[in-house]
């Protein structure tokens, strides 16, 4: 399957981040077309494309929009989840840096469709470069009359606020994000009610991922049939994949959903010299890992589920034979422990204890029976925590131990840094010449 640059097609144009640059590539034509269309028709169009959320869960976007009650007297809100913090995920920040106006255009059209007159782009605070590019794009859009009062004479009003987070992975969870945006600690809410009914300020709210909303201008311009040329029946469209790890050319690769990891890997130059795939994770640390046996599976929502994992954010991390899977999993669990918001006991306590036990293995002092204990601990978190962060934390270990049990057993007597010399894994390692 070939690469298909759509969202990334013009990224090599040096002024694409400005309005002038974006408009030269056809930018803001979709907005004009959309404003001449009934909002409900846009919701239906997005529904028919089958576009699924690119933030990880893959929920159908048009369906989400249709849950917003129309004709009520409440204000509606669009909130763009730009809190990209999932370990391995690195595609929304590049989109915002390279082509912020595409996101702004998507925000305006999406807000028009769901009848929102206020939209927020919640960007994690640690990426000021993305934040300032988005802020420039919003200002330029406003100066051009694409934002503000009576946009292009349509009678539609919209304000967009670029909001900086302050360092909390949990705010990528949509209800935690909303609490954070309301000025509280970022802790998840009980669902239902879902944000479409009671979201920001208890008003109907759509929360969508950056890449999802960035799809919208192309969908408006080109329609359902064009969009469905890409991908599969259940996973239509193209995807901004970000390939990282021990590959020759890590980076952004845009292709139809359904491309295989082997094909993507080939485009990325293959694994570095002298290196082979040991394990890889298709879409962030919160989805179960796979091995070289799975490289020929199509990268679709459905095929990944069938393989026992998830497409997640569609940002594969590739690890070669130099990497200790015990160390990899331990470090991910330290992350979840650090980022657990503390609201619910299974996640707060569970991530603490799993990390503690895993550390004994990392140090070569693990006990055999603890391998089962760890599975039990993960089982006590999975499905029992308040939000998906707990489920995510319970994900890396069970997959790792089922695939690499011997390696965990080796860690009952030998520290992982002895079994796996860390220096061999370095990107700048001279030992494994690139």
């Amino acid at each position: 399957m070939p690469l298909t640059p759509v969202i990334t097609e013009h990224w090599d144009q040096p002024d694409l981040y400005t309005r002038a640059g974006y408009e030269r590539t056809g930018g803001y034509q979709a907005l004009r077309k959309a404003l001449a269309t009934e909002p409900d028709a846009i919701i239906n169009l997005v529904k028919e494309t089958g576009l699924r959320g690119r933030g990880g869960a893959g929920f159908p976007t048009g369906l989400k929009w249709s849950f917003v009650p129309q004709g009520d007297d409440k204000p509606h809100y669009l909130v763009v989840n730009a809190d990209e913090s999932e370990p391995g995920a690195c595609k929304d920040v590049p989109i915002m840096i390279a082509n912020p106006h595409a996101l702004v255009e998507g925000v305006i059209i999406s807000s028009y469709a769901i009848r929102a007159s206020h939209a927020f782009i919640y960007i994690r605070g640690e990426v000021p470069e993305a934040i300032r590019r988005m802020a420039l794009a919003v200002r330029e859009a406003k100066e051009a009359g694409y934002l503000g009062h009576n946009i292009l004479g349509s009678g539609f009003d919209l304000d967009v606020v670029v909001h900086s987070g302050a360092g909390a992975y949990i705010c990528g969870e949509e209800t935690a994000l909303l609490d954070s945006l309301e000025g509280y600690r970022g802790q998840p809410r009980l669902k239902p009610p879902f944000p479409a009914v009671a979201g920001l300020y208890s008003a109907p709210t759509v929360v969508n991922n950056v890449e999802t909303i960035t799809n919208i201008p192309w969908i408006i311009n080109n329609g359902v049939d064009w969009f469905r040329q890409f991908g599969t029946e259940k996973s239509p469209g193209f995807k901004v994949f970000a390939v990282s790890g021990h590959v020759k050319r890590p980076g952004i690769y845009e292709a139809p959903l359904g491309i295989t990891m082997r094909e993507l890997l080939d485009f990325a130059g293959g694994m570095r010299d002298g290196s082979e795939v040991k394990f890889w994770v298709p879409g962030g640390s919160s989805v179960p890992m796979l091995t070289a046996d799975h490289l020929d599976l199509p990268l679709t929502y459905e095929a990944m589920v069938e393989a026992g994992t998830m497409l997640g954010t569609g940002t594969p991390m590739m690890f070669d034979q130099t990497v200790s899977v015990v160390k990899a999993v331990t470090r991910w669990l330290e992350f979840y422990k650090h980022e657990s918001c503390g609201k619910c006991t299974p996640c707060r306590e569970g991530t603490y204890w799993i990390t503690g036990v895993l550390k004994t293995f990392e140090e070569g002092k693990g006990n055999d029976p603890d391998l089962d204990l760890l599975n039990e601990l993960c089982g006590q978190i999975m499905g029992r925590s308040f939000c998906a962060l707990g489920d995510a934390a319970a994900t890396p270990y069970p997959a790792a131990v089922s695939l690499f049990r011997d390696e965990f057993l080796m860690a009952t007597h030998t520290p992982v840094d002895t079994s796996f010399d860390p220096a061999l894994s370095y990107a700048f390692s001279e030992v494994a010449a690139r």
Binding site: P5, Q29, P87, A168
Partner: protein, 220 residues
Amino acid sequence: MSQFAHLNERMVEITARYPKSRSAVMPLLHLLQSDQGAVTIDGIRAVADHLGLTAAEVTAVASFYTMYKRRDVGRHHVGVCTNTLCAVLGGDAVYEALAQRLGVGHNETTADGEFHLERIECQAACTHAPVMTVDWEFMDNQTPQSAIEVIDQLARGESVESTRGPVIRDFNATEDTLAFPDDGLAGAGRPVDDIMLAGLKVAQELGMTAPSGHHISREG
């Protein structure tokens, strides 16, 4: 809070962005942090007074998010990603080299107040691993040597450009950007880098394009 009278106008401007004033807590804390170098008790009181909240309510927010620092960070905040992917690709070695060079550990500031070192979580730049940040600006694809060179250059007062962003300023300046994102620097860094263009370049070399849509302009 006459201590913060000079911020009053900007605090009003931030609050006016939101339909409900409490939503301004986070950008206001960024603003106060940019003024004070940390989120201080006085800063918390100023935000609370401005929004009609209690100091406890604002403290609850400030203490939840790791970017709000309760102690003075100093001139430059240096972050090294040691989450799994960056760690195995060399982030651990970069962190150790910097810790040794600076003589401080995680969440510590050098005695001269120049550098604060932090092991940070995934920075959404895994394709650019190992990743370091200085005042939260990207310093991508580091080695222990290159990271030390960055620190040494900054210590000598030399200009250091972010790999995807403007010339490094200081921690407080970035905090100001987080409060007022339209900082005039959006064009200061390079527009994109080769890693972000990796797939596009391959597609161009191989003559691969997406099926063309009828409204997509081919100009430029």
